[in-house]
């Protein structure tokens, strides 16, 4: 990728890799639709993850183009954008889920704390234990509710005995706000729960291994409004202990749950900034068109 003079102007507050070149236009308002350089401050003071010049290719298709951004600790960051713009592709870079797609190729730097997640000494198993994921469609294992939550701690050898495991399962379900509903039916299959409960079970399953970051790819798109509200509430509570990245197609949801928002368009990161600012005062014309509903 070509680097422009603008790159040098960037102040990299708190960025992990201060030397990574970053595209970022400095101006206030961007009215030129063809200008695909990121508007807004990509860095944060207290980053949990940092991505620099990330590109993703599916064979010949360039799905993510030179995206750089920081994810702050204990913040909820929302990725929005029209469908097909690469939100899922990008979020799946963060726990290397794209490794499972043979055609996908990821370049660029992604850091979790001080570790380069693509480094040889970082095993994906370790990475995915630290960066959990909740998927669009609730996908509990076809096993009991208990087994669903116990699975992660079991395979990672987190607990020493059954009592510890029981406690951990209870705590996780408690944190996911599900304990009251499933207390009496721990041995029933996870798939017997309602959609919203299943998704909270998936969240419980993810937090059972005590991850640092939780990725959520449109976690509410298959749920009704009440179940959605519960999950949003839960996300707000979880922020205390975890860093959360959420992909959503609902701008209201992004506005409700996130502190920062990133707007993607056809593989480019168009704009990033505080959620309030993005929704009240977008600086790029593409962002404005999207949030005002002109397309999407």
């Amino acid at each position: 990728m070509s680097t422009t003079a603008i790159d040098t102007q960037i102040a990299l507050n708190g960025a992990l890799n201060r030397n990574a070149p970053i595209r970022q236009s400095a101006g206030a308002q961007v009215t030129d639709y063809d200008n695909r350089q990121t508007v807004g401050k990509i860095t944060v003071d207290n980053p949990k993850m940092a991505c620099r010049e990330v590109n993703v290719y599916y064979g010949q298709k360039h799905a993510i183009k030179n995206v750089s951004l920081d994810i702050g600790a204990n913040e909820v960051i929302a990725f929005i954008g029209p469908s097909g713009c690469g939100k899922s592709t990008f979020i799946r870079c963060l726990n290397r889920m794209n490794d499972t797609i043979p055609a996908a190729r990821v370049t660029g730097l992604i850091k979790l704390d001080d570790d380069d997640i693509h480094a040889k000494e970082i095993d994906v198993v370790q990475l995915r234990a630290r960066v959990g994921m909740v998927f669009q469609k609730p996908n509990p294992f076809p096993k009991s509710i208990y087994e669903n939550v116990a699975y992660g701690p079991r395979i990672h050898g987190m607990v020493n005995d059954k009592a510890e495991l029981d406690q951990l399962v209870r705590d996780s379900l408690e944190r996911a706000g599900l304990i009251k509903e499933v207390e009496k039916r721990m041995l029933e299959p996870g798939t017997s729960l309602s959609g919203g409960q299943q998704q909270r079970l998936c969240i419980a399953r993810a937090i059972a291994v005590n991850p640092e970051v939780i990725l959520m790819d449109e976690p509410c798109s298959a749920l009704d409004p009440i179940a959605t509200a519960k999950i949003e509430e839960l996300i707000d509570e979880l922020r205390e202990n975890y860093t959360i990245v959420i992909v959503t197609h609902s701008m209201q949801q992004a506005a409700r749950v996130s502190q920062r928002t990133a707007y993607f368009h056809l593989g480019d990161l168009i704009e990033i900034g505080d959620t309030d600012q993005i929704f009240t005062n977008p600086r790029h014309k593409l962002t404005e068109d999207y949030i005002t509903g002109r397309f999407g």
Partner: protein, 439 residues
């Protein structure tokens, strides 16, 4: 825009009345549907009719074979003849002349019979196995010596066939296997209640024999059992491992494409070719014994493997990707993902495929002919290396024999084979039903 004109001057299509147009064609559509239903029904009825016909024919022919004629004969276990030394030495007891006992018993029934030929005809009423039967009884219970017992002896095949009504009395004597004087005796025995049809335990207890009344399917059943056991033990683990590797681990490239095409082709190779391969490789090259269930199992494994691999891969692909993602997202390694989630979910499908493959192997005869499992084998095989034959080959062997009693047994063996097939397929259906998609 001038809306009234259409290329040929008629009303333009969008102004025609859809209701009348649809109604006009409706009768034709319904007729086509009815016709189609009729074709289907006719085809199914025809198919079912043939199945019923086949089953009726087989059962009609084979059912009598499950009963066998026995003749009650008074046997004097004469101590002087059986055990002159009085030691009750099993060797001496085994060597005694039991044929004489049988002859004596029959003469006791018909004291008036005189002459060499009539006496021989009289002896021919009972099976040659009768003397061995007495020997077994005495060896099992030496207390019998010195007593007289009414014993049900196995009738000869000719008598059995006659009693079952399959020999016409009206036939000229020279043309029937059973002579006039024998018919006379049988009638007398019948009148005295000394002839009876009992459950044919011999059929399930003994191996093949030249004498139809002594021939059983035990040998073939055990041969089939050992052969299928080898087949299952080899083809199931290898097939499942191959399916898992190809589906979950192998890179998708030209090599795996070639392997895939070849596996699909192997499933379509005529089974006799596998027999020739087995003959060349296992027997001629590796020097394994002929006629052995081990070699039969190896050959049938070659045949069953592609079936299991294909079924296994289909079962694996039917596990939804969301389950894989869930496992990987939790930080499970690939092997853990497969072992903990994908394989358990695919297992019913794999088992179903394997059972169907095994049922096919059970019915297979052509490749086994190639490796010598077609020999006449009297002894019931006891291991993977004993010479053996299998059920379908036994059927093939018996179907070649002219005796009516063997015709009967052929059908009986077919019934047993079909019963096993139905059992296996039923098991496959049960498995499929029991473990239907749970996600």
């Amino acid at each position: 825009m001038n809306k009234a004109t259409s290329p040929n001057g008629a009303t333009p299509p969008h102004e025609r009345d859809i209701k009348t147009i649809v109604n006009a064609g409706l009768a034709r559509r319904h007729a086509a549907e009815r016709r189609f239903r009729w074709y289907g029904l006719t085809a199914i009825t025809l198919g079912l009719a043939f199945v019923v016909l086949m089953f009726a024919n087989i059962i009609n022919k084979g059912l009598p074979a499950f009963w066998q004629t026995y003749i009650q004969v008074p046997i004097t276990f004469d101590a002087a003849a059986l055990d002159p030394e009085g030691q009750r030495d099993p060797r001496a007891l085994a060597g005694a002349d039991y044929n004489a006992l049988v002859r004596a018993g029959l003469r006791q029934l018909f004291p008036k019979v005189e002459g060499r030929l009539p006496l021989r005809a009289l002896s021919a009423l009972v099976s040659t196995d009768a003397s061995y039967d007495l020997q077994r009884r005495v060896l099992a219970d030496p207390q019998l010596i010195g007593t007289q017992q009414e014993i049900w002896l196995l009738a000869s095949a000719a008598v059995d066939t006659f009693v079952k009504g399959n020999i016409d009395r009206g036939l000229e004597e020279a043309n029937r296997p059973i002579k006039d004087n024998q018919i006379d005796w049988i009638d007398q025995l019948r009148a005295a209640g000394k002839i009876e049809r009992q459950f044919n335990a011999v059929l399930f207890r003994s191996g093949d024999s030249r004498e139809p009344e002594q021939a059983g399917i035990r040998g073939a059943l055990m041969g089939s059992f050992f052969t299928l056991l080898v087949t299952f033990l080899l083809s199931f683990p290898i097939g499942v491992a191959t399916a898992v590797y190809l589906e979950e681990f192998a890179p998708k490239n030209r090599w795996t494409d070639i392997i895939e095409v070849n596996i699909n082709n192997l499933a379509a190779v005529p089974s006799i070719v596998f027999g020739l391969l087995g003959l060349a490789v296992f027997i001629n090259f590796f020097g394994l014994p002929r006629s052995a269930p081990l070699v039969g199992g190896l050959v049938l494994s070659l045949m069953t493997l592609p079936v299991i691999i294909i079924a296994g891969r289909a079962a694996l692909t039917s596990v939804p990707p969301s389950i894989r993602e869930a496992a990987l997202g939790m930080g499970a390694s690939k092997l853990q993902m497969v072992g903990h989630h994908v394989l358990p979910l695919a297992m019913p499908g794999m088992l179903t495929g394997s059972i169907i493959g095994m049922a096919r192997a059970l019915g297979e005869s052509a490749p086994l002919l190639m490796i010598g499992m077609v020999a006449f084998i009297v002894d019931v095989p006891k291991s993977f290396l004993d010479p053996a034959t299998v059920l379908p080959v036994q059927i093939y062997l018996w179907s070649d024999l002219p005796e009516r009693a063997f015709v009967e047994r052929t059908s009986a063996a077919i019934m047993v084979l079909l019963a096993f097939m139905i059992l296996m397929n039923g098991l496959a259906i049960l498995l499929r039903k029991r473990f239907e998609r749970r996600w």
